[in-house]
Amino acid sequence: MNAQVNMDNRGIEFGFGFLSQEASFDIQFSLIDYDGSRSYARAYLVGLLNTLLVSFIGIILCTILGVIIGVARLSPNYLINKTASFYVEFFRNVPLLLQIFFWYFAALRALPMPEDAPLIFGSSYMTIKGLYTIAPVWNNFDVFFIALIIALIVIYFFNKFAKRKQEEEGKQYPKFFISLGIFIVIPALTFIVGGVDLSWSFPELKQLAKTSFTYEGGLGIPPELIALTLALTLYTATFIAENVRAGIQGVGKGQKEAAASIGLTPSQVLKLVIMPQALRIIIPPTTNQYLNLTKNSSLAAAIAYPDLVLVFAGTAMMQTGRAIEIVAITMATYLSISLTISVFMNWYNKRIAIQEK
């Protein structure tokens, strides 16, 4: 009420009509078709997808790294153990924003200019303007995509069938290899009969001016995305490592000894006995870390990665002046992402929880 009166006095209107207006600013990096002639709603979508992209990659990488470090911290090997704990102590205690700046500006300083970059893996160039690599060029990608989905459905039914057979007749199929076969054969068929075609586009050096170059063609991944992903991963992995360590330590010593005494190898002990129990301890706090990573990705604005905050709560807010509306939409969006992650992780936790008999 008060806000309404204040806004009226100051000549500010409230409404969401601006979302359909032309955005008239361009965005560096977008997963969908976009340019400034599109609407603010479209710009919102670009920002949202960029946020989801960096969060998704970050969550996967920090989970992998976190598990490795967490297990390493329990290693009886002094060197591994100490290195892992130094890593955790260090990356956890340096403020994240500082790490983002460090990786970004350190990378910019260290990386070669496009014309000096060496070819890596016969396909890519890592330069100050980003990573340029090969890009797939599809013909009739939609046919291929549908074939992939069909393959997945077939695999699902095959596995159900195989399970029933095993239960009823004790017959065992090599489930994994047959599934893999289906997954390869059906999509591959589309190349022969579906008119699907795949070729690769290579990045090529282009001269812009006497001393200024870039790459054209192929796929360009901006250094902002790389630095942000790196910083988020290294930072969040420390917390996940601690969760993993606590989880493993939380499983009784007796369990380990019992498992070893029935002749399981150490890696079998970890995989079959300890992990299933440890996961119950690890998942809830790790879910929190996933949420943190997603929220922390909004620090992107500092290094020009066009995430939701930079594009929508930044540029769009400035250009439209619709502060209240845009902050409300942005908050609701982050809330929805967080809720989705929580719901998914809860479901996963329930699924893997040991069923008490």
Binding site: M7, N9, R10, G11, I12, S24, F25, D26, I27, Q28, G36, F105, L108, R109, M113, I128, K129, K206, L208, A209, K210, T211, S212, T214, E216, P222, P223, E224, A301, A302, I303, A304, P306, L310, G314, T315, M317, M318, Q319, T320, G321, A323
Partner: protein
């Protein structure tokens, strides 16, 4: 019975107020911002996060610049002391919300006056203290000397939430050049990224380019291209809805410009009180009641000139002598071939 009594007393009180306070404090009454400023004892002024010549803090935290001087002028006028200003450094993105939310009372931060900003978002522009236009900076070694040499694939570093972002698109589109915008929230990061080689060009207001160049590791390795791609009239902004405050800020700026026109400087302002020219006398509070309409005393403008100086002094001190833009270009008085022209104080 009691109801009428109450109404009667408030009516009496109102009449009493009307009579006891002359028009002078009526203006102060009407302007909430003026009243609050006088109560607080300082002017709340939003500036940049460091743009030499316009608003920049030294190691001791002293702010200088032509944008800073507008706020100092207002402080001299309404509080009697040009130093009674609290500066809030703001990024381009934060600046308007800081003003509309009431965190600051004047925004004097190389801000372009445009229709949508003036009309749409609760702001009022009060004038222009620097006529500017958008330009491009490139590395000298690139051999580029004109924007006509720009090619597809060029990357351009700039700030978000600026007119720059919009003009850049118009410019590259009209030339049919595809480009990569790399837009940061803070100017320091823009400069650092361009300086490191992330972008082929750095684009913003030409004044900004000249000022930021002084911050680069090797200023001599960069040049500003001759083309100007937009109009960027920069000026102070106030919140919409307080017309007395708006007038105070507008006429504080006008006073500085008009003082230069009539040759009134910080050094000679006191002597000018005895000038023959009535226009000059009005500028130094020696004729007319030039402060009354704002709820200010008669020497408000004299204090501005004495404490802050006229526009020419401010320009020389901040922009010319620091080597940022020695040539005044369009920011010369209309009487000397420029376009600085303000309505008369009378």
């Amino acid at each position: 019975m009691f109801k009428y009594l109450k109404q009667l007393t408030s009516l009496v009180a109102m009449v009493a107020v009307l009579f006891t306070f002359s028009t002078e404090s009526m203006a102060a009454k009407k302007s909430k911002t003026l009243k609050n400023t006088q109560k607080k004892g300082f002017v709340r002024c939003g500036v940049s996060q460091g743009l030499p010549g316009f608003s920049n803090a030294d190691a001791a935290g002293n702010w200088t610049g032509v944008d800073v001087d507008v706020c100092r002028a207002v402080a001299a006028a309404v509080l009697g002391d040009a130093n009674k200003v609290k500066f809030t450094p703001l990024s381009a993105k934060e600046r308007f919300t800081a003003l509309t939310s009431g965190e600051i009372d004047i925004l004097s931060r190389n801000t372009t006056w445009t229709l949508s900003r003036d009309a749409d978002i609760g702001l009022t522009f009060v004038g222009v203290n620097f006529y500017d236009g958008q330009g491009f900076m490139v590395r000298k070694s690139s051999g580029i000397t004109s924007t006509s040499q720009f090619k597809d694939g060029i990357s351009a570093c700039t700030n978000i939430g600026t007119t720059t972002e919009l003009n850049m698109r118009d410019f590259f589109n009209s030339k049919g050049i595809s480009y990569t915008p790399v837009a940061f929230e803070k100017a320091d990061e823009v400069v650092a990224a361009y300086d490191a080689g992330r972008c082929d060009t750095y684009t913003t207001d030409k004044s900004g380019l000249a000022a930021q160049r002084t911050k680069m590791s090797n200023p001599d390795e960069h040049i500003v291209l001759p083309e100007t791609i937009s109009k960027e009239p920069l000026g102070p902004v106030v919140r919409q809805g307080d017309s007395v405050w708006e007038d105070i800020v507008r006429w504080s700026l006008n006073t500085m410009i008009e003082a230069e026109e009539y040759g009134v400087t910080s050094a000679n302002a006191d002597m000018m009180k005895t000038s023959e020219n009535p226009q000059i006398k009005r500028l130094v509070g020696a004729e007319g009641e030039m402060g009354a309409a704002f709820g200010l005393d008669n020497e408000w403008n004299l204090r501005i000139i004495k404490q802050v100086g006229n526009y020419g002094e401010s320009y020389k001190r901040n922009i010319a002598d620091t080597g940022i833009l020695p040539d005044r270009g369009p920011n010369e008085l209309w009487t000397k071939g420029g376009i600085l022209y303000v309505p008369p104080s009378r």
